[in-house]
């Protein structure tokens, strides 16, 4: 049984002092069900997740006590990807006909401060100042720039694109375009990455209604087909966050293995993708993920970005809504936001940021600690 996404809902990302994370998730869920012309009574199952916003299944208090199966998913930054993967399997297997996927979050201000014990590490690692994801991203990028001649100008270009795309995305957190000078002059966080090159923890909610493809037209005139949803963890040798030591060689990352599997299962290749969302926790992540997902060779990003190929009007638009950089990262909702954006692009309903020439195939990719990746391929 093929799988379709028929309802899209989002609570704007950013700061919403009057609403809890769970409430933002419920707003998104109601919006998704309304978009599909249905309601919570029709939902046979739900998968949901949040890092700091509480248990997703307590959302039934806000949506209605209907007795459905509601399973909480927690998989770091891949939470949304894992929820969608679970929903995909639930439909694909024939177990259910229609259900809800939801993710939300509400993080305290400032950088995340993960606890070593939650990641299989001893306290010394955090106490001596090594337990910062910002350091990992900076170090991975520093080596990558050294190995593949990526310039600082390219880092600035990615940030510039993100905020420009955010400025035409009504639900984005950062809606102000920034000049190259403003980006270049921001305070350094972790060499070579400065303040405008990192995304920040934020708030928001996102939800999707997903169903059997053969009943999709009961809910929408423009179903988006979820061709495949793949989640992978790391292999030995992949260079990962929260790792006191790394292998003496660099192996394929979980992004590479998830991407390769997703393309195989979907029966298409990177050249067939018309629009993509790639995890951009920081600008270097977007750059490295272009190659890890198979869209270009390592090092070609320099040329691709200089030529504007990842702009909305380019050959492969990337992060058309400004990505994590402009939307912030409410961890539980972030991966679903990517899918939400791609669905709007494929429906042709992305407004001022619509990719021209009716894109047919979309791609989403999340990456997170301690080395997990989720890839979805979508098509009309």
């Amino acid at each position: 049984m093929d799988v379709a996404i028929v309802g899209l809902g989002l609570h704007p990302f950013g700061r919403s002092p009057s609403l809890s994370g769970l409430e933002q998730g419920a707003v998104a869920a109601r919006a998704a069900m309304a978009d599909a012309g249905t309601d919570f009574k029709a939902m046979q199952f739900a998968f949901g997740g949040s890092q700091d916003g509480g248990n997703a299944d307590s959302m039934v208090n806000l949506l209605g006590l209907t007795g459905l199966q509601f399973t909480n998913i927690w998989n770091g930054c891949a939470t949304g990807g894992s929820s969608l993967n679970a929903a995909y399997s639930a439909i694909k297997s024939g177990q259910y006909d229609i259900g809800l996927v939801t993710g939300f979050d509400k993080h305290p201000r400032g950088a995340f401060n993960p606890k070593p014990s939650e990641w299989g590490l001893d306290d010394w690692y955090g106490e001596t100042g090594l337990m910062l994801t910002t350091q990992f991203f900076a170090m991975k990028l520093q080596r990558y720039m050294h190995d593949y001649n990526i310039s600082r100008e390219t880092l600035v270009s990615v940030a510039e694109k993100a905020f420009r795309n955010g400025s035409i995305t009504p639900t984005a957190w950062r809606q102000t375009a920034l000049s190259r000078e403003e980006i270049e002059q921001a305070p350094m966080v972790s060499e070579p990455l400065n303040k405008y090159m990192f995304c920040s923890p934020a708030e928001g909610g996102c939800a999707l209604v997903i169903c059997r493809a053969d009943i999709a037209h009961n809910y929408t005139s423009k179903p988006i087909y979820l061709k495949t949803a793949v989640v992978r963890s790391r292999n030995y040798g992949s260079f990962e966050v929260f790792a006191p030591s790394q292998a003496p060689f660099v192996a394929d990352s979980p992004t590479v293995t998830a991407s390769r599997t997703a393309f195989e299962l979907a029966g298409i290749g990177p050249e067939d993708v018309d629009v993509a969302q790639l995890q951009d926790t920081e600008v270097g992540a977007e750059i490295m993920h272009m190659a890890e997902n198979g869209f270009c060779a390592h090092g070609d990003q320099e040329k691709w970005i200089a030529e504007g190929r990842t702009e909305i009007t380019g050959a492969l638009p990337v992060n058309t809504d400004g990505g994590c950089l402009a939307n912030g990262e409410p961890v539980g909702a972030s991966g679903l936001r990517q899918v939400y954006e791609i669905c709007h692009q494929l429906r042709g309903s992305a407004g001022a940021r619509q990719v021209p020439n009716s894109p047919k195939v979309g791609y989403t990719h999340v990456y997170g600690a301690p080395g997990i990746s989720g890839v979805n391929i979508l098509a009309v």
Binding site: N113, G126, L130, H146, M188, Q246
Partner: protein, 143 residues
């Protein structure tokens, strides 16, 4: 003389006039890990031995921590006394890349490939007044 104690046992040889990094070596596949662990990340086996991994290596990648991290960071520093520190992976002779604080903390002083050597540094005092120490790497000066 203030007593010095490792912040965490088993990361480096101690007490030792010439401390070295401690790791584990898999008796099945030969791959190393730091800190030492009883299982193997490479071959999934469960048969390893603790071995000394030496005190020298080359800088594989680096960054600089510019602001004082929040909890769980725990030193005797205050935001006023905090000094930015380097962070890097140092490739040891066995090939393993060990994550470490670095004494060098400016872009001018850090470069991929530079030779590094181990040193032991204070972290904070414990409630008995002993000085807790950990490892870091610093640029190896030519002999």
């Amino acid at each position: 003389m203030i007593e010095q104690k490792p912040l965490h046992d088993g990361l480096f040889s101690w007490p030792d006039s010439d401390p070295e990094i401690l790791g584990s070596r898999c008796n099945e596949c030969g791959q190393h890990a730091f800190p030492p662990q009883s299982s193997c990340r490479n071959c999934t086996g469960n048969n390893t031995s603790v071995v000394g991994l030496g005190r020298e290596g080359k800088l594989w990648t680096w960054t600089i921590q510019t602001f004082m991290p929040k909890d769980p960071y725990l030193t005797d520093e205050t935001p006023e006394t905090f000094v930015p520190y380097g962070v890097g992976y140092v490739e040891l002779e066995c090939g393993l890349r060990v994550e470490s604080r670095l004494r060098q903390n400016t872009t001018a002083d850090l470069a991929i490939g530079m030779p590094m050597t181990l040193e032991i540094i204070p972290v904070r005092k414990d409630d008995q007044g002993a000085e807790l120490v950990t490892f870091q790497f610093t640029k190896k000066e030519p002999n």
